[in-house]
């Protein structure tokens, strides 16, 4: 602990001139106590199953050593220390505002916070995490890449397919239902997904003009198809939650098929 700390404290209580060596020695007496106090406060934090050290932890730590706790330092997040610098020193202090008592009495009571409640949800069903709102969103691309390149890594979170398609026509976002992927086994597409798939492909490459909303020349038919296919692929690639490497070879084969038909 630096000696300036002692100087600051002394000045705040009115002792104006303290010698340097006195400050330093006082500080050195302080530092292990502060150290021990914070060690104890850490214990309370660990047992409180938290990562953030709270003022209550320090209060309990002081209580442990039969020292009176500090009064008046309860804040939800952070104690609002104010920073001030001047006279060659930097200082963090707690601004104690003076408030009129009548103001406090007359302000309406704050809203009562919600009481503790308990809610249950499925974190995993037979080893696979369902994509319900209570569960975190599926793994990002990088993790999926890691999974596919290291198949022995048995991390199997569920994967959700969100269709975020930028079709040529404006379509609303379709939220895909959970696609349960069981690696190393066949992919089962639910009926919903099959429907969805059909919908999407029809929208992109179907011949129904109303859906596509574009006039297509017969001569250009195949080319247009190809373009739509490419756009669909681009949309799929742009989707941050899908990792396509597994399917690249399959996709390439599909795309290559129309090519011979091109003039």
């Amino acid at each position: 602990l630096p000696g300036e700390l002692m100087k600051g404290i002394a000045e705040s209580i009115g002792v104006s001139q303290m010698q340097e060596c006195v400050c330093v020695s006082e500080c050195s007496l302080l530092s292990p106590s502060v150290c021990l106090c914070s060690q104890d406060a850490l214990k309370f934090m660990h047992h409180g199953k938290r990562r953030k050290l709270m003022t209550s932890d320090i209060d309990y730590a002081l209580k442990l050593k039969n020292v009176e706790p500090l009064y008046g330092f309860h804040a939800q997040d952070f104690i609002p220390f104010r920073f001030a610098s001047g006279g060659g020193r930097e200082l963090y202090f707690y601004e104690e505002k003076e408030v009129d008592l009548s103001d406090i009495i007359n302000t309406p009571l704050p809203r009562v916070p919600l009481d503790v409640s308990m809610k249950a949800h499925w974190l995993s069903i037979e080893g696979v995490q369902p994509a319900i709102p209570e569960n975190p969103p599926p793994a990002p691309k990088e993790q999926q890449k890691a999974e596919s390149t290291e198949p022995l890594k048995a991390v199997k979170p569920g994967q959700e397919e969100e269709g975020q398609l930028q079709g040529k026509d404006k379509k609303k976002l379709l939220e895909g239902s959970a696609m349960k992927l069981k690696p190393r086994s066949t992919h089962e597409l639910s009926v919903e997904q099959q429907l969805y798939y059909k919908e999407i492909t029809e929208a992109c490459v179907g011949s129904c003009e109303a859906k596509r909303a574009v006039r297509v020349n017969v001569v250009q038919n195949n080319l247009a198809l190809l373009i739509y296919l490419m756009r669909m692929v681009k949309a799929l690639m742009d989707n941050p939650t899908l990792y396509l490497e597994k399917y690249v070879s399959a996709a390439q084969r599909c795309l290559a098929l129309p090519c011979p038909t091109l003039p």
């Binding site: 499925w122 974190l123 995993s124 037979e126």
Partner: protein, 758 residues
């Protein structure tokens, strides 16, 4: 342990005299370093002492020591004066072969820089048992005997602190240490890893000696120079040490003091030990040898030297590793035989349990979950080893339900993972500190930082309190559903709040018969609540410091609690004082668990060890070291053979109780592991942590590899396979919800609990 009073004058004059010896000038008071209050001139002190009439035996010893020193230094006149004034006769002075050992010339470590001179007589003043021979020994290095506190009324602390005599010139400490470093660097690879274990305890003890003898500058320099060399898992301890720069700081810290009295245990192979011994017994390295002998306990084993990996996995605790003898006691880890209850085939009308042998119309199924053989399992304790409560009717009913559920239990395995249902506590504002489920998973209780305990019903059945006494007298006692009638419908609700504690509730435990709930809190009490009336029944006061964990015995009636005062207590619900006190840990006890057969208790502590205690006699039967942080959860496997533990270092360690060895390490979590549970048949281990994940591990595979009995039982060293990845079956993230508790239902559905923390 008596509190150390700064005013106690006993060690002070010894210190003064000690520090004087280095200058070999008696009566030079001004040389003492500043900051120590009783800096009275040594001579004055020495002469004052006899005036106090040396009634106290320790004062007498001090006096004798001073006389001896004067004699040795050939200051005959001063000696004569002192003797006269003290009124001591000549014959008392010299060779005190008896245990009083006031001469304390057994102390090794020279006062002068050259080592081995036994003239530093006051190194063991208070109550040390010095042999007469070594008292008048030649300057050959005397064996340093440890400070024995037997038979002295001096408080342990003073003795301990007095043990920090000056061992050689403090300025040379870095030189000694560097010398040792150079030596160890030069030995063969196979020995180097083992000998490097010596660095940390040596470093700490040397640093503390410097601090105690008030060589602040040297201490700081020593610390700065060498603290970077230490192992990474000691960095928390080193941080605490760096804050300790003055002698006064040491006195307030109990953990530190215990660290000194208990010897740091090292396990070194015989070959490496011989190497070290030979090197250190050469003249110039004697200081280190003395320190080693004094503060370290070297457990020598015959066999191959251990590799760095093996050493790293076992070290990390505050007192080194465990001595082999500590883990040699026989532990009855088998399960108690289930009482035979005949299960009626017809559920509905045969609710009532049957006595054994009662003739039935249909042939009832025998209890198949009980032990199959009539023979006593050699590893199981006797049924009556610990008196357990009799089975009540309701207990038998419970057991029958249990067995029925067991038949519907899902068989788990790597191919068939359990489903996880997660109970999230919303709006807890970081206040959820403890959770427990009943065994049949019908109730869940949460302990909060605002000192409340809340009980929720998981099933649609609401919680009801019992009617008041007036109402109770009105009901028809002979009706069949009297148990339903005593419940007051008006009080039915989803959850009940229990108020009574005055501090955050850190531990919760349901009783197996679902009648009681225990909770322990920062207010140093353990409270027993009734789940019929939802009121507090008893407050057990015994700890004077926060109680961190509590648990009911699997058979009810007994419960255990552990807290900041570093002891665990075994209580019975109908005794207001504990039945057993398990003390031995160096730092506070953070987790307490009963063994499934209720004969043993495991405690995990902030000193990074796990101890297994015998309930019958309170002995510590196992010490497990290896964690690098305070242990926060323990779980026994259902067959009673294995123990899993999780700590703040994020690792889960697996231990074989019978052999007393670490058999597995599960790496994967990145933050403190707070929840561990084995599945009902022990195939899967689930772990939950602050990193918001639940991980499932293949327990059968982890324990399978161990069935082969090729431990080197003599040395007990195993190379742990790096197979955490293979054992990991699944990892499930929650949405910012640290997982605090896990529970397998009777059908092997995994329930998790935690508070949503956005």
């Amino acid at each position: 342990m008596a509190a150390v009073q700064d005013g106690s004058i006993e060690p002070e004059p010894e210190n003064e005299i000690k520090t004087e010896t280095s200058n070999e000038v008696l009566g030079n008071p001004g040389d003492a370093s500043g900051g120590v209050p009783p800096t009275a001139p040594v001579a004055a002190v020495a002469t004052e002492k006899p005036a106090a009439a040396a009634t106290d035996s320790t004062e007498r010893q001090t006096l004798l020591a001073v006389l001896q020193f004067l004699k040795k230094s050939k200051l005959f006149e001063s000696e004569e004066i002192l003797r006269r004034e003290a009124g001591l006769l000549n014959e008392i002075g010299d060779s005190q072969g008896s245990g009083a050992g006031g001469a304390a010339l057994g102390g090794g470590g020279g006062a002068e820089p050259e080592s081995g001179d036994a003239s530093s007589l006051l190194s063991r003043v208070a109550g040390a048992v010095a042999t007469a021979q070594s008292a008048n020994a030649t300057p050959a290095p005397a064996k340093v005997t440890p400070v024995v506190t037997g038979g002295d009324d001096q408080p342990d602390v003073n003795v301990v602190l007095a043990a920090y005599s000056q061992q050689g010139d403090p300025v040379l400490y870095p030189v000694y240490y560097s010398g040792l470093k150079r030596f160890i660097d030069s030995v063969l690879d196979c020995h180097r890893a083992e000998l490097s274990q010596v660095f940390y305890p040596l470093f700490v003890h040397m640093y503390l000696e410097l601090v105690y003898n008030q060589y602040e500058k040297e201490a700081k320099a020593f610390f700065d120079k060498f603290h970077g060399d230490q192992e990474c898992y000691y960095k928390d301890d080193l941080r605490i040490l760096s804050g300790l720069t003055k002698k006064e700081h040491m006195k307030g810290n109990e953990t530190l003091l215990d660290f000194r009295t208990s010897k740091f245990v090292l396990r070194i192979s015989r070959d490496s030990y011989q190497l070290l011994k030979r090197h250190l017994q050469e003249r110039q390295n004697n200081q280190i040898w003395n320190i080693i002998q004094e503060h370290l306990y070297i457990d020598i084993f015959d066999g191959m030297p251990r590799s760095k990996g093996q050493i790293d996995s076992m070290s990390g605790s505050l007192a080194g590793e465990a001595k082999r003898e500590a883990n040699k006691a026989k532990v009855f880890y088998g399960l108690l035989k289930e009482p035979e209850i005949e299960v009626p085939l017809d559920d509905e009308d045969e609710e009532a349990e049957n006595e054994e042998g009662k003739p039935k119309k249909k042939k009832p199924k025998k209890d198949s979950t009980g032990s199959k053989s009539k023979k006593q399992d050699p590893n199981a304790p006797q049924q009556s080893r610990i008196p357990l409560p009799e089975l009540k009717d309701s207990d038998k009913l419970d057991k029958i339900m249990n067995m029925k559920e067991a038949t519907k239990r899902v068989r788990l395995g790597p191919e068939s993972l359990p489903s996880i249902c997660f109970y999230t506590f919303l709006n807890a504002y970081q206040g959820l500190t403890a959770v427990d489920f009943t065994d049949d998973s019908s109730l869940v209780a949460g302990g909060f930082a605002d000192s409340t305990v809340r009980v929720w019903s998981v099933t649609p059945k609401k919680l009801r309190g019992v009617k008041t006494a007036g109402d109770l007298s009105l009901i028809d006692k002979d009706s069949d559903d009297v148990l339903e009638r005593i419940m007051d419908e008006k009080t039915a609700s989803e959850s009940k709040n229990l108020y009574g504690h005055s501090g955050p509730v850190y531990g919760i435990s349901f009783s197996p018969d679902r009648n009681y709930l225990l909770s322990c809190s920062e207010d140093a009490t353990v409270r027993l609540w009734s789940l019929q009336t939802f009121t507090c029944l008893v407050g057990y006061k015994g700890h004077n410091y926060p109680v961190w964990d509590t648990q009911f015995s699997p058979y009810g009636y007994y419960f255990i609690s552990g807290g900041h005062d570093r002891v665990a207590r075994l209580w019975a619900t109908d005794h207001y004082q504990p039945l057993r006190i398990f003390s031995g840990h160096l730092a506070d006890i953070t987790c307490t668990r009963f063994h499934p057969n209720s004969n043993y208790v495991a405690t995990g502590s902030a000193d990074r060890t796990i101890r297994l205690w015998d309930v019958l006699n309170g002995n510590c039967v196992r010490i497990f070291t290896g964690h690098k942080g305070p242990i926060h959860c323990l779980a026994f496997s259902p067959n009673g053979k294995f123990l899993a533990s999780g700590a703040t270092d994020g690792r889960v360690l697996l231990w074989d109780i019978g052999h007393g060895l670490m058999i597995g390490e599960l790496k994967g979590h990145t933050d403190t592991v707070y929840a561990l549970k084995f599945s009902r048949d022990g195939e899967i281990l689930a772990s939950g942590s602050m990193d918001n994940t639940v991980r499932l591990w293949d327990a059968t595979k982890a324990f399978d590899d161990i069935e082969t009995d090729d431990f080197t039982a003599a040395t007990g060293h195993i190379t742990l396979p790096e197979n955490s990845q293979e054992l990991l079956l699944g990892s499930y993230m929650t949405k910012s919800t640290p997982v605090i508790h896990l529970h397998f239902t009777r059908r092997n559905l995994l329930l998790g609990a935690g508070a949503y923390n956005p």
